[in-house]
Amino acid sequence: MSLQLFIEQLLNGIQFGFMLFLMSAGLTLIFGVMGLINLAHGSFFMIGAFSASFVAGLTGNFILAILASLIFPALIGIMVEFAIIRKLYERDHLDQVLATFALILLFSEATRYIFGAFPLFLDIPNILQGNILLPGEIVYSKYRLIIIIIGLFIAVGLYFLINRTLLGIQIKAGQNDRQMIRVLGINISRLYTIVFAMGAALAGLAGALIGAIQSVEVGMGEPVLILAFVVIVIGGIGSIKGALIGALLIGVLDTMARLFLPIFFELIMETSQALSLGSSLASMSAYLLMTLVLIFRPTGLFGKK
C-alpha cells in the first residue's frame, strides 16, 4: 500500500467523521441542555436531504438547496418542539423514546406520502465533480474536501457560540443546572426552542451534504442516527468537544478497519475466511471502541464525572 493511498483513506475517515459530527453535535446539545433523548434526530437528516433535493430540482442551484436544508428542518424542528417535544422534558426517558420513535414513523410515512417511495435525485454541482491534486501527489475528491472544510467551520463556529456568546453561556448554564437558570430569569423555553432548532438544522445540513453523494430516500437517517449515538456516548454526553473528537475517532477507525482488517487476517488465514471475518469485524469496530470507552471511562472521554 502506498503512502498516498493511506493518506487518501485517512482523509476519507476524517470526512466521514465531520459528517457524524454534524449529526451528533445537535444530538448531544439537546440531550445535554434539555435532558431529552431524541430518536427523531435522524428524521431531520432525511428532511434536510429531501428539502435540498426538492429545491435543487426546482431551481437547479446547489447553494439554495443547502440553504433549504438548514431552514426547513429548523422550521419543522421549531413546530415539533412547540407541539410535542415541550411536553416531554419533565417525563422520564422511556416516554421520550416512545414519543420520538413515533415521530420517526410519522416523518417517514409523511415523506413517503409527499415524495413517493422511490429515491430522489440530488447531485453535486459540476464545479465540485472530480478530484483535486493535493500536495504530495494525493488525489482527493473536491466535494469531500468541501465537506471537511464545512465541518471545520461549523466546529469552530460552535466553539465560539458556546464559549463567547450570551446564548452559549445560557446553554452551558442549562447543562449544569436547569433549575438555577430558570430562577435567574432566563427564558428557558425560548432557549430550548433555539437549541432544538439548531440541532435540527445541523442534522438537515448533514443530510443534504451526504444526500448528494448517496441516495435520498425514506429512512436514510436511522443508520446515521445509531452511529451518532455511539459518538456521543464515546465523547461524553453534552460535550461538543467530545462529539467532535468522538466523531473523528469513529470516522477514521471505521474507514481504516474496513481497509486493513481484511489485509491483516489474510496474513494468518485463508483468503475467503479472512475477507468474511475482516469485514464483519470492521463493521463492529465502532461498537467495540464504544465498549472499551465505557469500561474505562463510563461517562465518556469528555463527560462530566
Binding site: 500500500m1 502506498s2 493511498l5 487518501e8 483513506q9 476519507n12 475517515g13 470526512q15 466521514f16 417517514s108 410515512e109 413517503r112 413517493g116 417511495a117 422511490f118 429515491p119 430522489l120 435525485f121 447531485d123 453535486i124 465533480q129 472530480g130 478530484n131 488525489v139 475528491s141 466535494y143 469531500r144 451526504i210 453523494i213 448517496q214 441516495s215 435520498v216 430516500e217 425514506v218 429512512g219 436514510m220 443508520p223 474507514t255 474496513r258 481497509l259 481484511p262 483468503t271 475467503s272 475477507l275 468474511s276 469485514s279 464483519s280 470492521a282 463493521s283
Partner: protein, 379 residues
C-alpha cells in the same frame, strides 16, 4: 319469450362459472412502506394489472415492512382466517426463507415474484413452491459471462456481507473466466464507499462488478462516477431499474447490466404490458413489475386449465402453464424440474431516451439458462 330469455340467461351464467372454475384467493405479502417499498409497490401493481377483469381472483394485500416477523404473521393470518389458496409477493430472500417453508408445508402454493434463495432451489425445494422470477445467482452468472466475452481479464468485485451478497459473487465467479483482483464485502446498508473506491483506483483491475441493491447501489454508482475512476462498471439489473435510474442520474449512463427482462424485448405480450402499465400507473414498468405481471398471468392460465380445489391438477397446470396459454413478457419461458425459470438473460446498457434514462438491450448473455441447484432438489 320472457321465459326463454331468462333460461338463456341462466344457461349463460352456468357456462361462465364452468369456464372460469372456482374462485381463487391470493395473499399478496410485500413491502409497501418504508425502505425498499418501491419494489413491493411495483410487484403489487404489476400483479394487479395482470389479473384485472378476472372475476374469480380475489387479492388480499398485506404490508410486510421488510421485516421477517411481520411477513410470518401476515402469512399465518392469510392462511388461517382469510383462507387463501396461493401466497405471493415477497421481495427479499430473508423474508422468503422465513415464510415459504411454512406456507408450502400447510398445503398452500407459493409463487415467488422476486426472491430466489439457493436453498429453496436446492435442498429445501418443494412441489408447491414456484419461482417466476429467477434463482438468485442467475443475473450474476450472466454478468460473469458477459465480462468474459467483453474481454475483461481482471475484475474487482464487491457485495454486501450477507448470504445474497455471497451468492452474487459466487454466481459471477462461476461464469467469469478471468482472475479476481480483489473481493470486497461491505456492511449491509453501508452508503459511503470512499474507502472501497480508493482501493479500486489503486488496484490493477480492468473492470468492476458490484451487487449493491437499493440505496447502496445508488450511492456507489454516484460516488464511483464522481471519483472519475476510469474503469468499466458491470452490475445486475437491480441497480439500474427505472425507479433507481431517476435517483442516480447521468452517472449510470453507458453502464452494462444483466436482466431477464427489459421493456424493449420484442413480443406482443411485452408490448401490451408496457403500454397497459404506463397508461394504468403513469410510469414506466420495472423488472419487478414485469415479474409481478407474469406471476398474475401464470395463475390466470392455470385457473383456465384446472380447479384450485384439486391441488395436484392445479400444480400440473402451473407447471405446464408456459405450454398451455401463458406467454411471458420475457418471451421464452419454461420451468426446470425444481420449479425455477429456464429463460434467456440479456445484457442491457443504460441510455437516454427523450430525456429519460432507461435500458436498451444489447445482447443475449445466457440463452435458455436454468440454475445450478437442479440436481440438489429432490421433490
Amino acid at each position: 319469450m320472457f321465459k326463454k330469455s331468462v333460461s338463456a340467461f341462466i344457461l349463460f351464467l352456468l357456462t361462465i362459472s364452468y369456464a372460469y372454475g372456482d374462485k381463487v384467493k391470493v395473499g399478496m405479502i410485500t413491502t409497501l412502506s418504508g425502505g425498499g417499498s418501491g419494489l413491493g409497490i411495483d410487484i403489487r401493481d404489476g400483479f394487479a394489472l395482470a389479473v384485472k377483469g378476472e372475476p374469480n381472483i380475489e387479492i388480499i394485500s398485506g404490508d410486510d415492512q421488510r421485516k421477517p416477523d411481520i411477513a410470518v404473521q401476515l402469512a399465518d393470518k392469510m392462511i388461517q382466517s382469510d383462507k387463501v389458496d396461493i401466497i405471493t409477493g415477497i421481495v427479499w430472500s430473508n423474508l422468503a426463507m422465513a415464510v415459504v417453508p411454512a406456507v408450502v408445508n400447510q398445503g398452500k402454493f407459493y409463487l415467488s415474484p422476486n426472491a430466489g434463495p439457493s436453498l429453496l432451489a436446492g435442498k429445501k425445494c418443494h412441489k408447491n413452491y414456484f419461482n417466476i422470477a429467477w434463482q438468485n445467482d442467475n443475473l450474476h452468472e450472466a454478468a460473469g459471462g458477459y465480462a468474459s466475452s467483453a474481454g475483461f481479464k481482471n475484475s474487482f468485485i464487491i457485495a454486501p456481507n450477507y448470504p445474497a451478497g455471497k451468492d452474487a459473487l459466487t454466481g459471477y465467479k462461476r461464469f467469469f473466466k478471468g482472475s479476481i483482483e480483489n473481493e470486497v464485502y461491505t456492511k449491509l446498508g453501508q452508503t459511503d464507499y470512499a474507502a472501497e473506491i480508493a482501493k479500486i483506483r489503486a488496484s490493477n483491475a480492468d473492470s468492476v462488478y458490484f451487487f449493491l441493491p437499493g440505496g447502496m447501489g445508488i450511492a456507489f454508482i454516484k460516488q464511483f462516477s464522481q471519483a472519475q475512476v476510469d474503469l468499466p462498471l458491470v452490475g445486475p439489473a437491480f441497480s439500474f431499474d427505472q425507479g433507481i435510474l431517476k435517483a442516480v442520474g447521468n452517472a449510470a449512463l453507458g453502464v452494462k447490466n444483466t436482466s431477464q427482462w427489459s421493456k424493449d424485448i420484442e413480443n406482443a405480450e411485452n408490448k401490451k404490458f408496457v403500454e397497459d402499465f404506463q397508461s394504468a400507473y403513469g410510469r414506466l414498468p420495472s423488472l419487478y413489475a414485469s415479474q409481478g405481471y407474469d406471476t398474475g398471468k401464470i395463475i390466470v392460465s392455470a385457473m383456465a386449465n384446472a380447479s384450485i380445489k384439486d391441488m395436484d391438477a392445479f400444480r400440473e397446470a402451473l407447471k405446464n402453464a408456459p405450454s398451455q396459454g401463458f406467454k411471458s413478457t420475457r418471451g421464452k419461458f419454461s420451468f426446470s424440474s425444481n420449479h425455477h425459470p429456464i429463460q434467456d438473460i440479456y445484457v442491457r446498457e443504460v441510455v437516454e431516451e427523450d430525456g429519460t434514462l432507461t435500458n436498451k438491450l444489447i445482447s443475449s448473455g445466457l440463452v435458455d439458462h436454468s440454475n445450478f441447484y437442479v440436481d440438489q432438489c429432490k421433490m
